[in-house]
Symmetry: D3
Subunit: 237 residues, 6 copies
């Protein structure tokens, strides 16, 4: 049924390779099928101005794609002179999602910047970025803990994300690009390790949807997130 | 309980004044409490390049805020030299939402640009923009129909939007700014007149949420949308 | 003779509605015929760097137009990524004009930003912006006086503006858009309440002009300004 | 009385050296005292899109200053990434002024771009640019006439400009930088060879002004323009 | 002597992994020690406008670095809104170098865009980009040949690059970052497979140099290039 | 043989006119044949942030061209909204070259900005900018020495530059534009007064080159630099 032959509730092959960067405080390469994202976490000793003297830290994210990560070449945003609306929307989502899993008071007045750069794209790059970004963040925080720079762990829970959609009339988990282009309804779900909801973004791309379909997609998402959290944990261990 | 004294499931006072623009093909001023948005629809005889010779039309949206629509003055985006990430995210949402209610084949190869400019902001500007933007769009399409330029009505249903959130532990409808700033969870819901879902965007702003809470917010949204659709229809009539 | 049927020395219907903004320290909506401009004044406790420690204040202005304020849609400057030359020229003119009516030493080291946003355009938007901008400024300064933050009134006189031009060979007052497009010579006149000159900008748009014509336009302007000042004063009272 | 020792109605030493550019179709270096501007005119075989198939030509201008043309170094606009408001205002003025002296129908569908680059500034750069720009334009048009590409001369009259102002309470002609910085009122006057008015721009810089003062400045301007036109003509001869 | 313990004329460990991209017509990941660059080649059926109807093709390059490719995080150029001077200089160099090895007439009217994205940096990124970029280009051209879209091979010879410099008074081959930061003189050498020179860029970074030193660096470069060309050829085979 | 009739090792007529700017601390107009560049040096009392409290000074350069310095008009970079890659490459080269001749510790914590603006171009503008830029720098430093603001002379040696290339199969000195466009190989050489090398930039523009040709070009460059240094010294004397 699915172009890839996967079952409706089956993730693509997922792997997370940690410490892929010589320089970053935390890093990983996440592969969800043919979608590959390098995630790095950088610790900075200062926060954005609006947090000055609040005792609170910040986690933010930036997102990019190599020009030929895509089927046909996409114009380089640095050459275009600005980040497009899609890029900004995605990096805001990654940042919000990761912040939802962190105790900013325990982090103290520092900022962690998570960079998610898509090396190869085949659908689901924002979800892979969140799932991989959390691993990079976890590793960077571990470094702070190990160095005694933090007295308690600011990370409250895992954060992972997966897309689901209505493809050929059926709810399916973890859309790849051919499914994503054809799906009538499309959703991204960000959950914690304990299955609490952080972000739900569902969108009618050609076909409106019902509450019942929404529930079906959420069922799939909960199942996928459980697997992704296990993969995160074994990558870190 | 609510700063405004409203009931949990009570919309703010909503009014839609139509034909507020001398020049636009369709226009209205929507007021949701102290949130006021001017919406205009402009008909253009050409579509974006990717639709050339497809027979399909396009609906797109742009969003802006007057600098002093907000409590303290916001920097003018034209002076800053770019539209911020929030602006781009909102205008992409408005465009997607309005397109979901239109038969692009019946529209033919033309584009309708819906401009939503916030004159005064008190929370919920993106929802007001969608609800008012649909009215402007409806009026512009009526003009095309009246002029005999369309043979069938491309508008399939009303499109309206409302925000809901968990405020002080309670699910509430149509957040104003004081509620929005304090809400732990925040959602925007775009529905059709027949209560089909177009967009669901829920976000944990400080507190993660459960599926049950999600259902409660959606209940509220369905109720609010029904009211908004009635207001749209009486404004147009 | 005139497209609108007005007499040569007749202003359009002018109204100034004050306090149209919930948030701004001073605000009004000025209507000169079909030209409608929202003017807001924002008080800031800091001045531009070049005034630091001089004891002098500053008044500056920004100008914008909603995309569909015009007959056909004008590209949004925020989307274009910059303010055009016309916009910059106009906002510099508004700022200079308003500063000419203020004692910057009595204002003290604060800045007042006057935003003029054209909701609907039918010629004469820069003049309406100056006339309405002064009202917003006056109201904001009143607020400072009332709060005891100023010991003397920094406003020395009213400031108002009107356009005049040679239309169909005749000098006419307060050009609307059809007249403005066809006028051979065009002028903008900014005067004080006591009829002192602040700015005179006359321009040959297709036909050069004589000193005698210049004097005729100035006669008309003085007349129009007297009326506008009376309208300003009654709006504020 | 004047810092330079000049009489109230005395121009600075003016010289116009023609054909200073190896490449441009018309060019000159104009010196008004210590203000030096290189003006070049470039003939292009196409017009701006809005003139396509109208049979009308166009004259436009661009203005720039070398970074160290000024007393202290001014940031290079190319490095800043945009032309400032002052630059745009000036180049729009130059373009409008030169167009007022040309029969665009006789010019035919071509564009002449006049570049005015200030090599050294000591007040009055926009006026020098107009006066010198006209000479470059005249020389370029002569080349078209000589080559038989034009059947009649599109230049209807000389165009020249001069500044006047109220300095130390006195009306003075052709302000240099020390006078310009101190002047209460400042005006730029663009006239034709036959003393018709093209542009009048008067501005209260600290002190409002009367109609009588305005007339005095205009008297001075007429006198100065007569001299400048004679200098233009002898430079071209 | 060298921080890495390498001999003066010893390259870092070099590897070239080909076909690392699912989508690109040619691609490789080149590793020169800790400097890792992804190179992709994209074939486009159109050339830049200046080559229209000349029968000639074009090869161009773009260069970027992931923000955390460097020891401390470098600001993302897409976020900064422009490519820096260093980036532009490097991508112009890559493009010129690759074009020197290609017969643009045999390529025909098509363009090949080579993207070089630095995943991890430890000195010598521009040289690695040229060496790896040539491999990507070679693979893309092979695809054109195989498809019968080219009748003769437009690639005339290998192109490879290496840096050399005077480090601690000694000429050394293939500088890594610690050497590069401390080198008094620094050079980049681009050669063909048959040891013809394409680009020589030598620069005094703190210490001027002699012709004799220049010759010593060139000797080293010729040696390094021979090795790199062998590695290119075995990667492609 | 050469279009200009010059001998293979003959410079164009070179002149350096000093103190051409009323305002700059050092300035000259350098003419190398029809290539004319105005160079000014501006002394600033602050350095770039990365040098704060190091006791070291900085020399930097900016480069520009008047739009009609070239055969056909080049778009003004200020209007285009950015400096092109070529401009940035050239100004980085000028800055590096001039810094190589200065003892930044003797200069102390100040910055000298050298602006090189091409008034007319006929090949070799970057070399003329370096040679003339050094004269402007020398004059500005002389002013500091005379004023007792420096205790020792930070200028260690002259810095001059010249281009050489293979034209019609022959090595030639100081390429003018017709030669530059046709040359197969092109080089820019920056040397000190004592003939030490600062920068060597050789580039195959259509034809690769041999080490022997490289040596021939360097021979020519040494000869040309000796002449340029003599001209610099007599201009300053």
């Amino acid at each position: 049924m699915r172009p890839s032959g996967r079952k409706l509730d089956q993730l693509r092959a997922v792997s997370i390779e940690t410490n892929v960067s010589l320089h970053a405080e935390g890093s990983c390469l996440i592969r969800m099928g043919n979608t590959h994202v390098i995630c790095t976490a950088t610790i900075e000793d200062k926060t954005p101005p609006f947090l000055k003297n609040t005792g609170l830290g910040w986690v933010t994210a930036e997102y990019g794609m190599l020009p030929r990560a895509t089927t046909s070449r996409t114009r380089r945003e640095a050459a275009a002179g600005k980040q497009g609306g899609r890029t900004q929307e995605i990096q805001r989502l990654i940042g919000r999602s990761l912040r939802a899993g962190i105790d900013r008071s325990a982090l103290g007045e520092r900022q962690i910047v998570v960079d998610c750069d898509v090396i190869q794209a085949d659908g689901g790059t924002r979800c892979a970025s969140i799932t991989g970004g959390w691993v990079a963040l976890r590793l960077a925080v571990n470094k702070l803990l190990k160095a005694g720079l933090l007295t308690s762990d600011p990370i409250m829970d895992n954060v992972a994300a997966v897309s689901c959609g209505i493809y050929a009339g059926q709810p399916v988990l973890d859309l790849d690009y051919p499914e994503d282009s054809a799906a009538g309804t499309d959703g991204n779900f960000v959950l914690t390790g304990s299955q609490r909801l952080i972000e739900v973004q569902m969108s009618a791309e050609g076909a409106t949807f019902s509450r019942e379909q929404m529930a079906q997609l959420l069922d799939l998402a909960e199942r996928g997130i459980a697997d992704l959290v296990a993969i995160q944990n074994s990558a870190i261990a």
